[in-house]
Each structure stands twice: as structure tokens, then as C-alpha cells.
């Protein structure tokens, strides 16, 4: 059987029952890694031996009838800003190049508890700051669909690993779209859960009030599986919600006929042109065909999303990244005196984009500028949140449809020179992080090119309504399969 094409959900079941060897299943992905990793560069760390040992252990348990877990024997690629005990966790940064945590992130603990196997750590924009993975200090990741193009970011390694068939499942992290945007550009499924749905314990912080860990997978069913494993209250994260975790798989194939899907008109403006626009219009048409009700809605403060996001994300980042001072872990350079050691370590350890954002974040929090920038952004954030709650409430929406990214994958270096233009890549995704609700990117009609370039459709849900957007995404996925 074709392991790489089988859903992870199905594979876990077969491994549990002993009908599929975890070692064989893993081997299929290790082969894909041997074939493609050299050109794609999705991983920063792969521990083949440890993964194989874990798989063989699973197989021994299975033959004794003792194999357990929803991810039984399934390998998972983990973004390198999520702590893995005993496996280095670099955040794509020189400053943490040799950092080996002795603790697992909550999500990693959950994966292991459900029988999953950590396959390796994936490349990313340094500290998750970027939208192309070009900001990694430790390696280049290419888009498996077109190696001359970026995979998106910041979870570019995770998206590329799944797209290249090197891992059935991957974890990414979001601050402004870092799961959905690379999922869109690589042609895989990527979900940003509601803030508080998945514990952030062990996720190296970029912007704490926006960060959230999300699954990437080749299909909606697998994204639902990994979300189900990782979601739920964790007493180590004060922002983790007590909201009950539903069985996401149970309602996945329920019909979507009659659901009210809003299309925010502000998302169809000048930043959505050409192929992006065509792809989106066709996707909306497909939903009409499926019997969904398409509703015109307004998110009036959309214009202010990127500004608000830039200020809040960088302000929090400037504080979150203060701990990298060369004292307790991480790169240390310069030894003359305290002041010099801290500044040298940080200057040598952080890349240019990280420094830019620390500088901006330090500025907007500074006395004399706090009210004019940071406080204003927090207020604008309230308006952006209200946009969503009003749209969902007053228009009684089940979900909203928008493109996940304005354009398909771009070529290396195309936007690297212009940070502001790079920030605008997040224009369709960042609002959801500011509002705190959930959204998924699912492969939609690609942009015509040779080869065709993937584009994602974004389905935005109300807070803690992951079940609804997964169901809509699954219906769309099936309709797309029927088309091809």
C-alpha cells in the first residue's frame, strides 16, 4: 500500500491493530526524505535512528496487543520553535543554534502520549519572523512544488515537509499567518486554532498574545486528528482554555448545505488581483454549488490590520526576546564586561529581521511613544476583534471565506529586500490572530503556471468553532477532488 498517500488517521488505526508496521510506515517517509530533503531542505534536525527505534517499539507493543494512541506509530515533523526534550530547538537562529531543551512542549508531550513519533525539527524564519523562511539563519527551504520559489513562512519547513511527502503531519506556529500562508503556498492544509485552544507551553514565544500552535497535513482529516491530539486545557499555560475539545473527526463529513458563509468585501480590494482573484471566485462558486449561502459582509477595520499587527507583535517580541542575553543558554560572544557581553551576544546571535523587529518593538513601548503607538494599536485591536464578533453575530455566519494569501509562492529574494512588502503577505491572515478566532487554509484552485502554483482558500471560524471550519474545509476538499 502507498503509505505516503494514506491518511495518518488510517495509518494509526492499522498500526494499532498490527495490520501495518510502524517501521514500514516510517520508512516510506524516511525514503522520501532521502529522495527530496537535499533539494527541499525542510528539516534542521532529523533523528532517523531515534524515530526508527520508537517505531520498532510501537510494533513490539502492537504485536503484544498493547499499542495505543490516536497517533500510534505515526511520525510528526515539529517546527523548530517547539521544544523537544533532548533534541535541539533552534528557532532558526544562531542565538539558539546549540540549545537543547530538557523539557517537551505540551503539544510534543501530547503527541508522544498518543503514540506519535517526533521525526525531526523543521526550518523556519528566525523566531517565526517572516513569511518565506528566507529569514532562517540555519538553512534554505525550497517550495517542493517549484524549487525556485519560497515555501512561505514562517512554518515553511513544516509545510514543505508535508508537501514533499516527507512527513504525514507537522506542527507549525502562527503569529500572523505562519501556518496558513505556507500551507497555501505549498498546497497543504494548515489550521490556526482559536487562541487558548492549544497550549503554548514549550512554544518559544514571538508575540504571546498572538502565538498559537497549529497542525499542517496533507488532508483535512489529518489536520483534525493532530488538532484533536494537541488541543485542550493545560495547567502550565494561563491562557489555555477550559473549553471542551469536541471529537473533530465525528462531524467532518456532515453536509454543509445551508451554511451561511460570509465574504468580507474588504478582502476583495486592490491587494487581490489576477490569479489570486480568479482562484478565490471559483472557490466561492464551488460553495454555491454545494448549497451554501454566500453572504456579503464587512470587516471595516481591515485596512488597519497590518499596522496593528506590526506594533503589537514587535512590542511583545522585544520583551520576549530579552531573555537571550548570553547568560543561561544560547550564544555568548564578547567577554569584556557585562554590558558588552549582552550586546555582543544579541548582535551576533540575531539576524537582521529579528533586530529590526526588536528595534521597532522597543521603540513603540518606549516612554513618550507608548500612547502614540502601542496603546493605539491595542485599541485598534479591539475594533478589529469587534469587526469579527459583529460579523459572526449580526450576520449569523457559520464561517467566512477569504483567500489565504494574496499571491502564490514567490521567487527567492523577490521580497526579501523590502520588509514592509513582506509584512503585507500576512494581510489576509493576521486579522484572525488579532481577533483570536480560528481559521484554516485548504488547497484551492492553483494559479496557472508550469507547474501550477498552489493557492489556499481560507475559512475563518468564530472562536472555538474549529469543528465547523474543518467540516467546511473537508467538503471543499472533496469537491476539489471530484473536480480533478
Amino acid at each position: 500500500m502507498d503509505s505516503v498517500r494514506m491518511t495518518a488517521a488510517r495509518a494509526a488505526g492499522l498500526i494499532r491493530s498490527g495490520d501495518l508496521k510502524s517501521a514500514e510506515y516510517l520508512d516510506a517517509f524516511l525514503k522520501a526524505i532521502s529522495d527530496r530533503e537535499r533539494e527541499v531542505g525542510a528539516f534542521l534536525t532529523i533523528d532517523r535512528a531515534a524515530a526508527m527505534r520508537a517505531a520498532e517499539e510501537t510494533d513490539r507493543s502492537a504485536s503484544a496487543g498493547k499499542a495505543r494512541g490516536r497517533l500510534c506509530g505515526v511520525p510528526v515533523a515539529v517546527k523548530d520553535n517547539i521544544c523537544t526534550a533532548g533534541m535541539r530547538t533552534t528557532c532558526g537562529s544562531r542565538i539558539l543554534e546549540n540549545f537543547i531543551p530538557f523539557y517537551d512542549a505540551h503539544v510534543v508531550k501530547r503527541i508522544r502520549e498518543e503514540g506519535g513519533i517526533v521525526l525531526g525539527k523543521t526550518n523556519m524564519d528566525e523566531f517565526a519572523m517572516g513569511s518565506s523562511t528566507e529569514n532562517s539563519a540555519l538553512g534554505v527551504t525550497r517550495n517542493p512544488r517549484d524549487l525556485s520559489r519560497v515555501p512561505g513562512g514562517s512554518s515553511g519547513g513544516s509545510a514543505a515537509a508535508v508537501a514533499a511527502g516527507m512527513a504525514p503531519l507537522a506542527l507549525g506556529s502562527e503569529t500572523g499567518g505562519s501556518v496558513r500562508q505556507p500551507a497555501s503556498l505549498c498546497g497543504v492544509v494548515g489550521l490556526k486554532p482559536t487562541y487558548g485552544r492549544v497550549s503554548r507551553y514549550g512554544l518559544v514565544a514571538f508575540a504571546s498574545s498572538l502565538d498559537q500552535i497549529g497542525p499542517l497535513a496533507a488532508c483535512v482529516e489529518d489536520a483534525a486528528l493532530l488538532l484533536g491530539v494537541t488541543a485542550g486545557r493545560d495547567s502550565k499555560d494561563s491562557t489555555s482554555s477550559e473549553e471542551e475539545v469536541p471529537d473533530y473527526a465525528a462531524s467532518l463529513d456532515d453536509p454543509i448545505c445551508g451554511l451561511r458563509l460570509g465574504v468580507p468585501r474588504e478582502y476583495l480590494g486592490e491587494c487581490l488581483k489576477g490569479d489570486g482573484r480568479d482562484s478565490f471566485d471559483r472557490a466561492v462558486g464551488l460553495f454555491r454549488d454545494m448549497g451554501a449561502e454566500i453572504v456579503d459582509v464587512s470587516l471595516p477595520h481591515t485596512r488597519y490590520v497590518i499596522s496593528t499587527y506590526c506594533i503589537i507583535a514587535t512590542a511583545e517580541a522585544s520583551s520576549n526576546l530579552a531573555r537571550y542575553d548570553g547568560m543561561r543558554y544560547g550564544l555568548r560572544t564578547g567577554e569584556d564586561d557585562l554590558e558588552d557581553l549582552v550586546s555582543s551576544s544579541r548582535t551576533d546571535g540575531f539576524g537582521p529581521e529579528v533586530k529590526r523587529r526588536i528595534i521597532l518593538g522597543t521603540f513603540v513601548l518606549g516612554s513618550g511613544y507608548y500612547d502614540a503607538f502601542y496603546l493605539k494599536a491595542r485599541k485598534a485591536r479591539t475594533l478589529i476583534r469587534e469587526d469579527f464578533s459583529k460579523a459572526f453575530g449580526e450576520s449569523r455566519l457559520d464561517a467566512m471565506l477569504t483567500p489565504a494569501s494574496p499571491v502564490p509562492a514567490f521567487r527567492f529574494g523577490e521580497k526579501a529586500g523590502n520588509p514592509l512588502e513582506m509584512y503585507l503577505c500576512d494581510v489576509f491572515t493576521a486579522a484572525v490572530n488579532l481577533a483570536g478566532n480560528c481559521a484554516i487554509s485548504v488547497p484551492s484552485f492553483p494559479a496557472p503556471a508550469s507547474p501550477p502554483l498552489p493557492l489556499g482558500l481560507q475559512i475563518i471560524g468564530d472562536a472555538f468553532r474549529e469543528q465547523v471550519i474543518l467540516r467546511i474545509a473537508r467538503a471543499f476538499e472533496k469537491a476539489m477532488e471530484a473536480k480533478s
Binding site: P101, Y201, S208
Partner: protein, 482 residues
Amino acid sequence: MTGWEMVVGLEVHVQLKTRTKMFCGCENRFGAPPNSLVCPVCAGMPGSLPTVNRKAVELGMMTGIALGCRIASRTMFDRKNYFYPDLPKGYQISQFDRPLASGGSFRFPFGGGSMEASITRAHLEEDSGKNVHDASTDGSFVDLNRAGVPLIEIVTGPVFRSAREVSAYLAALKQLLQYIGASDCNMERGSLRCEPNVSVRKAGSTSLGTKTEIKNINSFKSVEKALEYEFRRQTEALESGGRILQQTMLWDDVAGSTAPMRSKEEAHDYRYFPEPDIPPLEIAADWVERVRASMPELPDARKRRFVESFGLREYDAAVLTASRDFSSLFEECARLWPNRRRLCSLFITDLLSILADEKIEVCDSRLSAQSVASLLRMEEEGAVGKNQVREILAELAKAGGDPPAIAASRGMVQLRDEDEIGALVTKAIAESPESVADFRAGRGKRAIGFLMGNVVRAMNGKGDPKIIRRLLVEKLENQSRS
């Protein structure tokens, strides 16, 4: 120096007596081996997150209530950003514009009367680690055991006009916090730290001068010294035409002087902003009421009760209630021993000095109300004398035990055999005809005192003094008549 007035406001940091730290489950304990009480959270390891200790919040609420503050219905944590080797995250989690408690006032005894200090605010925060310095090497060493220990910072308005007022406030604050069990307030161990803001002005002026902040005051004794020094330094500077710079001064206990902090005085910009890892904390009114109801009796109330229900003098009641544990022990004893005046003198004259001499805290002592009552019973029955009572009490405080057993093991039990004592009394009188003469001449007190001494010595102090005295009087009277 005359004509100048000192104006002092206080920031007092107090470590809260919790089992675990403010934001993680590591033990909150003094004196453990370096870096042994540390986890990813308090070490600021990447990916770690804070969780708020309920007990710390409740002790903070109690402190606020005891200081007459309003408890916020919604309180928030904020980040105070600065770099320092003992600050693992590069920021301290503190509270900025929504403190747990604010707007209180605290009345404390001063100079025979009392004085009131306005309490601006009391807020929760985490302690930093500790930097250890070693003169023999080029480096400093960081121990993070203290990092994350819960603190409450209590801020007064600029209400103090003398170092003595500050001392009196600190003593009362310490007593209060110990009473409510919020802290042990041990300044030498750093569980209470005080940072005065000091300025001076011409007497009668209503404006405030430029203030300096004094850090590194490590004992109650140093507080007054540091304030007096800084007052003198500022007035001398102003009188000689200089001006005061707003800066942080470090107190040097050995030199007995303050000096500006040597590190470059950057304009500190702490960039406070709401801690995104901790959602705001809603405090419902009924929670505040539950905490209020669970609070132990405060020192003032206990003192009044001691006066009223035990018939003690105001002064004695104040001494007895100075510490919660001491007064609680007294109260337990009072339930078992009805002679409160004797109990009171035992506690104030004997026990206080025993504890001070032996450097024992009441809570560490092995005393029990039962053993104290048993000791007083022995005394009442004449089995032991006053000096022996004190000796046994000291033993009880140090090692505990059963008073009769202690007395027996030390050979203290008094001889009460009247024949034996009578023989010695007769012998003493026979050996001292001048005492008999004194007695006859109406100088009985002197005669008995002299003879008592001889008999007691002859019995190695083991004779029951009451019996000796009675027999002496009887025999002397007999002799006078014959």
C-alpha cells in the same frame, strides 16, 4: 543642619510565605544549595510560561485588607523590562497600573501615641535571583533559587518626617505581616527589604525636594543609620550651594555611608506593558470576603482583648502581643493556668529573655502550654523555686520535655523533709548567736535573711525556701521566748 526637614516615602518588598514560587511550582525556600530550586519557568527558559499562585494572591489580599486598602475587582500583571544577570527573562512580572490593593492607611504606635501612614498601593511581583560575588575571581555568579519567589511591594506616600517614624512603621508592619502569616519578615535573610525615597526641604515648606532612593539596607538597625546619613548628606550639599541629583544610592553598612550606584545611570525606561501570558485576574467580592473572614486576629485587636479578658495592664498586653506566636502561646497557657499575673511575669521577665539569649523563635521552640502549666503547678506546690522555674523554662524552650522529669534529672527537686530541714535550721541558729541577738533587737528581717542564706547554702539550694523560712521564724521565736 537646623531648619531642614526630612521627607521619606517607603517601598517595602516582602517575600510571601508560600510553599511554591509566584509563577511556578518550585519550592519557595531559603538556604537551599544554589540553583537547586529552579525549573524552566523561573530560569526563563525558552517556551516556559507563568501560572499564578493562588496562595500568593490571597496573602497579598490579606496584606491589602490589613493595611486598609481597597482590593481591586480586576487586577493585572505587567512586564517591567530591564536587563540584569539575575533577571532570567529580561523582564520582571510585576503590576503597574492595576495593582492588587490600593488606597489604604495604616495606624501604628509611635512615641507613646500613634501615627498614620497612607498606603499608596500594594502589588504582587516576582523576586529576582541572586548574584554572588567572589573577590578572588573576575566573575560574578548567579543563583536562581530566589528568582520567582513571590513578593508584595508596599508603597507609602511621602509621610515620614524622621528616621524614628520609619523604624516604628517598619516594626509595626513587620508585626502585622507576621500576624497574618504573610511573611516572616526576616530582613537579614532578605525576606523584608526596604527602599526609602529620601528628600529634604526647609521646615515649613510644602513642596518636595529632589529625592534619592536608598538600596541595599540589610537590617532594621541600618534603616535609621542610612536615613540619618542621607539626610545629613543632602542638607550639607544644599547648604553648601549644591543640588541633589535624582539617583539611586547604595547603603554601605560597613562604611556607614551611602554612595551613588556605580553602574552607568542610564535613563531607565522599563517599558511596562500588560503581561500577555497572564489574563487579567477578576476578584469577586465574595472571594475578598472569604479571605477577610479567614484572616487571623490583628495585633491591635488581640492586645485589647488581652487587656479586657485577662485583666492585664496595657503595657504588658502590648509586650505579650508583639509577636503572634508569642501571644498565641500565652493565650494557650492562660486557658490552662488561671493566675494570669504570674503567667504574664513568667512570659515577660523570663521567657522573652530566654528566647532572646538562646536566639530561639517561638515557633521553633519546643514549648507547649501543657508544659508551662505543669511547671507553674510545681512552683505553686513549692516543688521548685523561682530560679529553678527559669532554668526549667529555658530547657523547655530549647529541647522541650516534662518539667518534673527535667527537675528530677537535674536534682532540683526541693527537700521538704521538715525534720531534716529543722536540724539544719537549729544548727545554723546555734552557729550564729549574733543573728539571735538581731532578732531579739527587732532586726528580724536581717537575721532571717542571713540565716536563710546559710541554710540554703548548706542544702545546696535544694531546700524548699518556704519551709526553711517558716522553721527559722518558729525556732527564733521559741528562743526569744525562752
